[in-house]
């Protein structure tokens, strides 16, 4: 990723709240969020969110989600370092060919390692027998690889944003939105196609055989300015809104909120600003879960630093584009 003269600087905030229904039932927060970024905002920036399935069959999915987000961020950062200044077309080809399979393999390895270190307890196995059936318990005791992976089942959403491109990877439910600061109206879109099979509570998952083939992928080369904001969220967030239009409105509203922030100077002030934004985000997500889906809600937001305070600046010429897929 080249550091050109008009270098983009990225910031990231994120929050994860335990679902209102999880609080009622005593279930933990089974979502996870991780990020890798340079403190000065120098690209690339990597953000991942994951949603553990949480059913009796997926009784360690909170760990599965943490492993997924950790691994995705770590592998993607390593991968991008390795790619260095490679041409976008090469990065695209390599990302598609290597990252999904690399993430799935590393996640499965981590699951096996976790089971070796923390074997299934009698209590866990008894719960599986009670709620799923004796055959599921037997399969776990016999080390059936599919049943073991199912215990940790989780989704994954990942974005890496650089100077002149971004890519998006998604396995399972949840949403990724990009917000473009077009004038006069911002444009909010979903960079990945919908998966029409993900209705009700069905999802694709890292625990499925051939999971790496089930990732949705988009590589976006910025022809103008990069997106102003990129939002990754677990399905508990979109499911909290009355309609998809109401959900997409999050994108334009967030851009407005960031534009209205005052520009802060100095590392410490910028950190304080991010912390204040995260506190607000936390309250918004609590509200969404209580008055919406009841599910765990996790949202990660990548934004261009120059968006902050831009409301008070002279409008830049509208040279932004929605990016080209290559």
């Amino acid at each position: 990723m080249n550091a050109g003269p008009q270098m983009v600087r990225w910031s990231v905030i994120g929050q994860s709240v335990r679902g209102a229904s999880h609080k009622r039932s005593g279930a933990p927060n089974q979502d996870a969020i991780r990020r890798r970024y340079d403190r000065l905002g120098i690209p690339p920036i990597v953000l991942a969110v994951s949603d553990g399935h949480g059913s009796p069959k997926c009784f360690r999915s909170d760990r599965g989600a943490r492993f997924a987000a950790d691994i995705a961020c770590q592998l993607t950062s390593q991968f991008l370092r390795k790619m260095g200044d490679s041409a976008p077309a090469i990065v695209k080809r390599e990302t598609e060919a290597r990252l999904p399979v690399g993430i799935v393999n590393a996640w499965r390895k981590k699951v096996d390692e976790d089971i070796r270190k923390n074997p299934f307890t009698e209590e866990e196995l008894e719960r599986v027998k009670l709620y799923v059936g004796a055959s599921a318990r037997t399969a776990l005791e016999q080390g059936d690889p599919q049943q073991k992976a199912l215990a940790y089942g989780a989704t994954l959403l990942l974005t890496a944003a650089g100077q002149d491109y971004a890519f998006y990877l998604q396995l399972g439910d949840g949403n990724i939105l990009t917000v473009w600061d077009h004038t006069p109206q911002p444009q909010v879109d979903a960079p990945l196609p919908e998966d029409a099979t993900l209705l009700a509570n069905d999802t694709t998952s890292l625990c499925m055989p051939n999971a790496h083939r089930l990732f949705r992928f988009r590589f976006q080369y910025f022809q103008g300015a990069p997106p102003a904001v990129i939002i990754l969220s677990t399905d508990g967030y979109a499911n909290s809104f009355s309609s998809m239009d109401d959900f997409f409105k999050v994108g334009s509203d967030l851009l407005q909120i960031l534009r209205a922030e005052k520009q802060s100077k100095g590392k410490e002030n910028k950190l304080k600003q991010r912390m204040a934004l995260e506190k607000n985000l936390n309250d918004w997500l609590e509200d969404a879960s209580i008055n919406g889906s009841g599910d765990d809600v996790t949202v990660g937001i990548i934004y261009r630093q120059d968006v902050i305070g831009s409301e008070n600046q002279h409008s830049a010429p509208s040279t932004h584009s929605a990016g080209a897929a290559i």
Binding site: H53, Q146, Q147, A200, N201, G292
Partner: protein
């Protein structure tokens, strides 16, 4: 603090549909007991809805005898739901009823963010029309396939094979009600336990390793012995 981003928030809709046999063989005590049992199940359903405030429970009713029709066509929020008694008479066009439910399960008729629907089929006999075609239409809809499907057999003449086929999961058996008290108990269970499970379902990974039901349903209640021989269907 800036105003919360995004449009209005809402609970997730959960469609609950009674599919009720109103054929001639249901006349008399069966239909009377059913009317009473469903009427009595409304309060427990409302209680379940109150315990799961993130689900908006919407109830509808399809009846079938000579053909099928919506008895209550509008998805009605459970707290505003009122039962109006059904009458019995005619044949058992169960296939037509399932075709009608299939129409309601079409993707463009269902909210994308909905919870798995709950469909409860109640019958005392054998279908007189093309049941398989109706079931095929229902299972041809993604929401039909993902629905929690429960069936209740009233009396000994009910076709258990058909009711099992409707459920589509060998782990879940049709509930058999052999007397008035039993029917009340099974209807109460069918109207509350699957509803509770579907109100707050965990995600389900697609694929064979998972198997079984879309939503984990606890075991049904044990049979109730009749308090008098006159209660037996």
């Amino acid at each position: 603090m800036p105003e919360r981003p995004g449009g209005s928030l809402a609970k997730r809709p959960l469609q609950f549909i009674w599919i009720v046999d109103c054929s001639g063989s249901m006349q008399g005590r069966k239909i009377e007991s059913l009317n009473l049992a469903i009427r009595e199940s409304i309060k427990p359903m409302q209680d379940v809805a109150d315990e799961n405030p993130n689900a908006e429970v919407l109830v509808r009713v399809v009846k079938f005898s000579d053909g099928a029709q919506w008895h209550i066509s509008q998805p009605t929020e459970v707290h505003g739901f009122k039962w109006s008694d059904l009458d019995a008479g005619g044949v058992t066009d169960m296939g037509k009823a399932l075709t009608m439910v299939a129409e309601a399960m079409k993707v463009d008729m269902m909210p994308q963010r909905g919870l798995p629907p709950v469909l409860v089929l109640i019958s005392d006999g054998q279908p007189t029309d093309d049941f398989k075609n109706g079931l095929k239409a229902l299972m041809g809809q993604p929401w039909g396939m993902k629905a929690v499907r429960i069936s209740i057999a009233i009396g000994e003449d009910a076709d258990l094979d058909v009711l099992q086929e409707f459920i589509g999961n060998p782990e879940v058996k049709p509930l058999v009600a052999s007397n008035v008290q039993d029917l009340t108990k099974k209807i109460k269970w069918a109207s509350t336990v699957p509803l509770k499970a579907a109100s707050n379902p965990a995600s389900r990974p697609q694929g064979a390793a998972n198997g079984g039901s879309n939503v984990q349903i606890p075991s049904p209640p044990a049979d109730v012995q009749p308090s008098s021989p006159a209660d037996v269907f």
